[in-house]
């Protein structure tokens, strides 16, 4: 089963929820798809880490073979190529590595070169497998890294996979939730938090994913995110209080369910709810 944890904005507690959910399970794999700022490994401190470099292909034009027909320039949906001064100019950072320009070139003037954009690191932390995607600084798209992370768990439906998504609701998040059986939306009790919750809620609906909300950082007073869930009839999976203790434990990169019985119980019951929710939808949703 694949469980994705997402939120419209950063800092709501995606990693906190994903890490503790994975740690509360008898056995799980934690997948950090927040490739621009992966931080789940800081909590898990995995051992026996194996690294695999992620490579993308970029086009190279042999100007001696190029006749200037512009088929490659016209083909590129992202305008990564221009034909200037009788030469094809390639913008590497705009290229999506689709390989189309190479295919359409009638002169076979285009070849491809490899570019390392980041890596995937896999290790173990007690009961949890820890798979981390890392995008190198300065790279524009982490999608190829997320594709690799999710390909590795594609046929591992039998195990519990917790996917820690990047913040927001852009392409990179869509890629992360594509294969999810259930989506947990983490929300803060602020107006800004509500705005972003609405965005991710719209996204998971677009993908027809079963979902529920974890209300994080709950304190006294109004909770706009909670009011929204009640109004829209979205399941509230659990409420996590805003406490100094959690703040300190989190800042010290401790996994609370491994130290505190009360929170172990909270996350175990959250996991139970989510697993039932995902299976229920899988049966009745067809």
């Amino acid at each position: 089963m694949h469980i994705a944890v997402l939120s419209g904005k950063g800092g709501t507690g995606k990693t906190f929820v994903s890490v503790n959910l994975a740690a509360a399970a008898p056995k799980a794999v934690y997948i950090d798809c927040d490739v621009e700022e992966p931080n789940g490994y800081l909590f898990f401190k995995p051992v026996n880490v194996k690294e695999e470099k992620i490579i993308v292909k970029l086009p190279v034009v042999d100007s001696k073979l190029c006749t200037g027909c512009r088929k490659c320039v016209d083909f590129c949906a992202f305008n990564a190529l221009a034909y200037i001064g009788s030469k094809v100019k390639i913008f590497d950072e705009v290229c999506h590595s689709c390989g189309g320009c190479k295919l359409v070139c009638p002169e076979k003037a285009i070849t491809e070169k490899d570019k390392i954009i980041g890596s995937v690191q896999c290790g173990q932390s007690k009961n949890v497998g820890v798979n981390t995607g890392i995008l190198n600084a300065g790279e524009t798209s982490g999608i190829p890294i997320i594709k690799k992370l999710l390909k590795d768990i594609k046929n591992a439906e039998h195990q519990l996979n917790i996917i820690d998504c990047p913040p927001g609701s852009a392409c990179i998040v869509m890629e992360s939730i594509k294969d999810a059986d259930y989506c947990i939306l983490v929300a803060e009790p602020t107006i800004f938090g509500l705005h972003n919750l609405k965005m991710v809620y719209e996204l998971v609906q677009l993908f027809s994913k079963p979902c529920g909300v974890v209300l994080n950082k709950c304190s006294k007073g109004k909770n706009p995110a909670e009011e929204f869930c009640i109004k829209e009839n979205i399941e509230i999976l659990c409420k996590i209080p805003f406490t100094k203790m959690l703040g300190i434990e989190n800042s010290n990169a401790h996994i609370i369910v491994r130290k505190n019985a009360k929170y172990n119980e909270l996350f175990t019951s959250l996991l139970d709810k989510v697993c039932k929710g995902g299976q229920h939808e899988a049966v009745t949703g067809t």
């Binding site: 320039v73 590129c76 949906a77 992202f78 305008n79 990564a80 221009a82 034909y83 200037i84 001064g85 100019k89 913008f91 705009v94 524009t140 852009a170």
Partner: protein
């Protein structure tokens, strides 16, 4: 000399568009014949790389000078490789900017931004 300007509409009363790559139209003005014409910017609807494609359009139309409020890095690279000079507009009036340019009152665009690439003008 052929001048290009990014504009909001394809008619003479139009104002200058704040975006270069995603401007709806380009206005061309010939300083010798004083004729102006409009070109629908086919790059405006691009998923990405609009600036690159828009700059390519100007190069293909043999433009000598671009008057624009701003320009991204990739577009500037294409324009510079095509020997198109870039000047910074003042205000939104097409007529005044062409006059100012002809009188030598416009400065070369010195701030080339890194591009907004999917961040909608942040």
């Amino acid at each position: 000399m052929k001048i290009a300007l990014p504009v909001d509409e394809g008619k003479n009363e139009t104002g200058i568009c704040i975006s270069f790559g995603r401007a709806p139209y380009f206005m061309f003005y010939d300083t010798e014949t004083k004729d102006s014409s409009f070109l629908l910017n086919s790059a405006a609807e691009s998923q990405g790389g609009a600036g690159i494609k828009a700059a390519q359009l100007l190069a293909d139309n043999k433009v000598d000078v671009l008057l624009t409020p701003r320009c991204g890095q990739n577009a500037a690279e294409v324009l510079q490789s095509s020997n198109i000079k870039i000047f910074k507009t003042i205000g939104a009036s097409v007529r005044e900017n062409i006059q100012d340019f002809s009188a030598g009152k416009l400065a070369k665009l010195s701030e080339i931004h890194a591009g907004f690439h999917n961040h909608g003008g942040r």
